[in-house]
């Protein structure tokens, strides 16, 4: 049965120190809560994470480009109304449209992939404390119950203000 320990830190370096120690000790399931992005520092401690978003962005943009092109060319071919001595398939305007749709679908893909990977939106109850939104850093470690004692120790040593255990149902 897995349970978690949550510790609150007033300072980021202490938290990071604790995290580093736990990591070394072989704890994998470490989550760091922070009121501000400390991505670099966390990466330093916990190792850099993969960035899956960029592929989505890329393919989203590519889809957007083809969507725009198809829209402009296709609708022109569906209903032919010649204009301005221009061919039915006119390249320049299509490029403009495709440019915009590239960006639009790129943005959408980024948005969707972000939400997907960040598991948002999520409205059910999760481990959280409102202090995190203000000025406290949190360290959540999830492990088998017997290993949690060590975690608590580490956290306290590192200078956590408060350490609590969270039992899951």
């Amino acid at each position: 049965m897995n349970h978690s320990v949550l510790g609150f830190f007033p300072y980021a370096d202490r938290l990071l120190g604790a995290a580093a120690r736990l990591k070394q000790a072989g704890y994998r399931n470490i989550t760091i809560f922070s009121p501000i992005p400390i991505v670099h520092e966390v990466d330093h401690v916990l190792g850099e994470k993969k960035n899956p978003i960029k592929f989505f962005t890329f393919f989203g943009s590519l889809t957007g480009f083809f969507f725009g092109t198809t829209l402009a060319f296709g609708t022109a071919a569906l209903y032919i109304l010649p204009r301005f001595g221009k061919p039915v398939w006119s390249v320049t305007p299509t490029v403009v449209i495709a440019y915009e749709t590239t960006i639009l679908l790129g943005v959408f893909a980024t948005l969707v992939s972000f939400l997907f990977f960040a598991r948002l939106p999520y409205y059910k109850k999760r481990v959280y404390d409102i202090k995190i939104g203000v000025d406290r850093f949190g360290l959540l470690v999830r492990a088998e119950e017997e290993k949690l004692r060590y975690v608590e120790e580490v956290l306290k040593e590192a200078g956590a203000e408060e350490v609590k255990r969270i039992y899951e149902d």
């Binding site: 980021a12 202490r14 960006i103 995190i132 000025d135």
Partner: protein
């Protein structure tokens, strides 16, 4: 700024959202009433009666409505664009101003969009301008610059809203944690269940970077496309290749001035002097000087390209704009506002003087509005066949709706200030610095 505590930041921002003075409500209701009077009623009158209530005529088919459209699109430019550029370049002073600037972007795009519908002769058929499958098998004409506009502005509005919203999620979560009642459920829903985990932060930063990267070319393309509405015509005074950079630079210029104006007012109104300091105005002042010089250069180039054609078409259009009353007054007022006064920002004293900055930035915005007005209303009445020349002046409906757009924008902004964390809590905190026991890395 480092002497401010994190908690204070949270308190200050939440305070702006929860504590509401009487003057706010007065301003809000004045805005609402003003919109109904200056915007709603005249527009209903115009829809009911026809576009004949405007001062438009043949051949001046474009007038103040399009001026407003271009102006608001221009205003929209700086917010997001600056925010994105400064984000990518990791400029620290961005952090306390960018949220409002992005909101300004979104709201002015919305304001500009209303002008499109006001401008249309049959606004109830607005959906015909969108490509959607229909039984008539009629699609839109993608060769039309207006269609580019539909796409560009649509994309821009969407993207800048997403940009604005994404940047705000952690703050919305922070606000969610502090409020009660209906606000709780509202911000609970808006915050999407944000917890501030390292994973969330990581993905947010990465996604945000992509948005920022997208926003920059998008913003440039939007205003170039708006300029193509004019430049792809054959009309003397409009048909110029310089128009795209001219408009983009003008847009950034007016947008930056708009930020300055707005920041000064906002800072005063919600007492945020400690977050928006002289540093910001110092930097923005330098930006304005740069933009002013750039704008002046393109403006001179624009006039020069017209003059250099040597055709009677361009020359008449130019002389009508520059030397014929009443447009000459406007033209030279514009030059004064946009070229000369901003040069005062060269002096640091002026830059950090709030009053001077306010006056000059408002002046720039007036000047930029005049620029758009002149482009439209001095080119169309001086087209190719002199027999059709006829001056254009706006009618009361047009003037009233123009005032209405400003009220509309103000209303949106007032609501924004109350309903949205108008300053980025977490980024101000970033500005303050990560709390470390040992200083330095």
């Amino acid at each position: 700024m480092s002497n401010i505590s994190y908690r204070e930041v949270n308190d200050d921002v939440v305070r702006t959202m929860t504590e509401t003075g009487r003057s706010y409500y007065i301003a809000l209701s004045l805005c609402l009433v003003g919109i109904v009077i200056t915007f709603g009623l005249p527009w209903v009158y115009q829809i009911y009666t026809g576009q004949g209530v405007t001062g438009l005529h043949s051949p001046a088919y474009w007038g103040v409505y399009l001026t407003n459209f271009v102006f608001w699109i221009g205003i929209s430019h700086s917010g997001t664009l600056l925010s994105a550029i400064l984000f990518i370049t990791q400029t620290p002073w961005r952090r306390s101003i960018y949220r409002s600037a992005e909101a300004m972007t979104f709201f002015s795009v919305v304001t500009a969009a209303t002008m499109v519908f006001v401008h249309m002769g049959r606004p109830w058929n607005w959906y015909w301008t969108f490509p959607y499958p229909n039984q008539r098998e009629l699609w839109t004409n993608f060769k039309s610059p207006l269609m580019f506009d539909v796409f560009a502005i649509g994309t821009y509005a969407t993207a800048s809203f997403i940009f604005l919203y994404f940047g705000s999620i952690p703050d919305l979560a922070a606000v969610r944690d502090r409020v009660a009642g209906w606000r709780k459920s509202l911000y609970g829903a808006l915050a999407l269940g944000w917890r501030g985990t390292d994973r969330e932060w990581d993905l947010l930063q990465k996604a945000y970077t992509f948005f920022a990267v997208f926003i920059i070319p998008l913003a440039v393309s939007v205003h170039s496309i708006v300029s193509w509405d004019f430049a792809s015509s054959k009309i003397p005074g409009l048909n110029k290749t310089i128009f795209a950079p001219y408009f983009v630079i003008g847009a950034i210029y007016s947008g930056s001035a708009g930020i300055v104006t707005l920041m000064i007012l906002l800072r005063k109104a919600i007492k945020f002097e400690k977050y928006i300091t002289h540093v910001h105005f110092d930097k923005l002042g330098i930006l304005l000087v740069v933009m002013s010089l750039l704008w002046t250069y393109v403006n001179i180039t624009e006039v020069f390209t017209g003059w250099y054609t040597g055709t009677s078409y361009e020359l008449e259009s130019l002389s009508y704009r520059m030397f014929t009353t009443p447009f000459a007054y406007l033209f030279w007022l514009m030059i004064a506002c946009n070229t000369f006064f901003p040069l005062l920002f060269v002096f640091r004293k002026v830059r950090v003087s709030i009053v001077a900055a306010l006056l000059i930035s408002i002046g720039i915005n007036i000047g930029m509005w005049i620029e758009r007005y002149l482009i439209i209303s001095t080119s169309l009445p001086r087209k190719f066949l002199p027999n059709m020349w006829r001056d254009y002046f706006p009618s009361w409906v047009e003037i009233s709706l123009t005032v209405g757009t400003f009220l509309f924008f103000t209303l949106l902004f007032l609501l924004f200030v109350k309903l949205w964390p108008s300053f980025s809590i977490y980024e101000i905190k970033e500005d303050i610095g990560i709390p470390m026991e040992k200083k330095g890395h």
